[in-house]
Symmetry: C2
Subunit: 248 residues, 2 copies
């Protein structure tokens, strides 16, 4: 592969958040934001996030839609010992494989739990779809797993983050996406939208977005440019800055 071809390599991902507690507005999902930000640093682009309830049919349908479309699917939630933890079974069904208690997972649980406390509910955490590799959980031992292009992680943020650290070195890495952020304080979007549209057309390999935000009743907008080619990105950014100076 040539250097130029390497630069274009694109690796995509989706995040599937599983849990009624997010949909009820009780819990604020912080995992999808963390994962998207983490993946961007290693050149993996998150292209979709979905949140679905603890309903097996819904999880299976989302898994199959997402794993067909993206290079990786990262799931969070639903791998604990309680009756509403059904992610592992849903993943096995999506892949059409058997699921059973995995001796490797039982061994890990026994590092944390006394043999006499390893009840039926806790053994549920050792149910792993056949053919899956385990993902280490240094915090509470109960592992995640990786099957096909689907990586199944815990919902508790600290544990999910540790699991992501475990899988990161094994992921295909894409070309790093570079970005430039340009502040446009005090300028309404409507003042520069025409000029920005022209530059977006002139630099098709640079993705240019305008992000308004409101503080104290005034817009404080940012323009973000993203691309894999640093030279082209710098050139586009210079033109955006010059265009804004002409408008202000």
């Amino acid at each position: 592969m040539t250097e130029a071809a390497m630069t274009d390599k694109r690796v995509t991902a989706a995040v599937l958040v599983i849990g009624d507690e997010i949909l009820s507005g009780r819990t604020r999902d912080s995992n999808s934001h963390y994962i998207a930000h983490f993946l961007l640093q290693i050149g993996v682009e998150t292209r979709e996030i979905r949140v679905v309830p603890d309903v097996e049919d819904d999880i299976v349908a989302a898994l199959n839609a997402l794993r067909a479309r993206y290079d990786y699917v990262f799931t969070t939630g639903g791998i604990g010992p309680t009756h509403d933890d059904i992610t592992a079974d849903a993943v096995a069904r999506a892949f059409g494989v058997e699921i059973s208690e995995d001796p490797r997972a039982i061994a890990l649980l026994l590092e944390q739990i006394k043999p006499e406390d390893l009840n039926e509910a806790r053994r549920r955490m050792a149910r792993i779809p056949h053919g899956a590799a385990l993902v280490a959980n240094p915090i509470s031992k109960a592992p995640g797993f990786w099957i096909g292009n689907v990586i199944v992680m815990a919902g508790v943020p600290a544990i999910m983050q540790a699991m992501l650290d475990d899988v990161a070195p094994k992921l295909a890495q894409g070309a790093i996406i570079l970005s430039e952020t340009i502040d446009a304080p005090g300028l309404p979007e409507g003042a520069y939208a025409g000029g920005l549209a022209n530059l977006a057309k002139a630099f098709p390999q640079v993705s240019i977005g305008s992000y308004p935000s409101l503080r104290d009743g005034k817009f404080h907008n940012q323009i973000i440019l993203r691309g894999r080619d640093g030279t082209m990105l710098a050139e586009a950014a210079a033109k955006v800055r010059a265009m804004l100076d002409g408008v202000a």
Copy 2:
């Protein structure tokens, strides 16, 4: 409709968040959480959240999947004046209707913008799919809109929240979902998972979830019960409390 039938009425919704900035991990989406929490108070259950990029095909596909499945779809983002604001066009395409500058929307923009400043980019904010009703934006005037069962709102949180206030009185309201939260501090999920599973089976009309969280290296779990029948909910909650007392 009898009182009993009223009590069972279920109204569902999905939230579709549109924007590259969420997927890149740059911006933390707070809108979906706000909407889910808001809707719950008026008896509308959020059953799915999706985040998609500023890509028309992706927006159209998600819109069509979600509007076929849920009573309402609430979108946020992509209705400003810049080239990456393509939500209105995507919605028109999803519904197979024309889109053009709406005189009602132009009149609203002119409340905020001087006629000589109403350039081509700003006029884009008045492009509304045919047949849509406008949603008021008391903050910056550029309206959202409502077509079929899809409600299109701004991405800036303060504006989105004002738009939600505008549409709320016009939404079909479901039976309010009641909830009881029971703390189980210090107890690991594995200690009560078996008992909880039995109670979940005994109360099929009550949704029972266990939500672990980690603070200072210790689990502080909560059990949440949800249901539309207050008496049954109270009965289930009493049994959960008794079960936890037996385990602790």
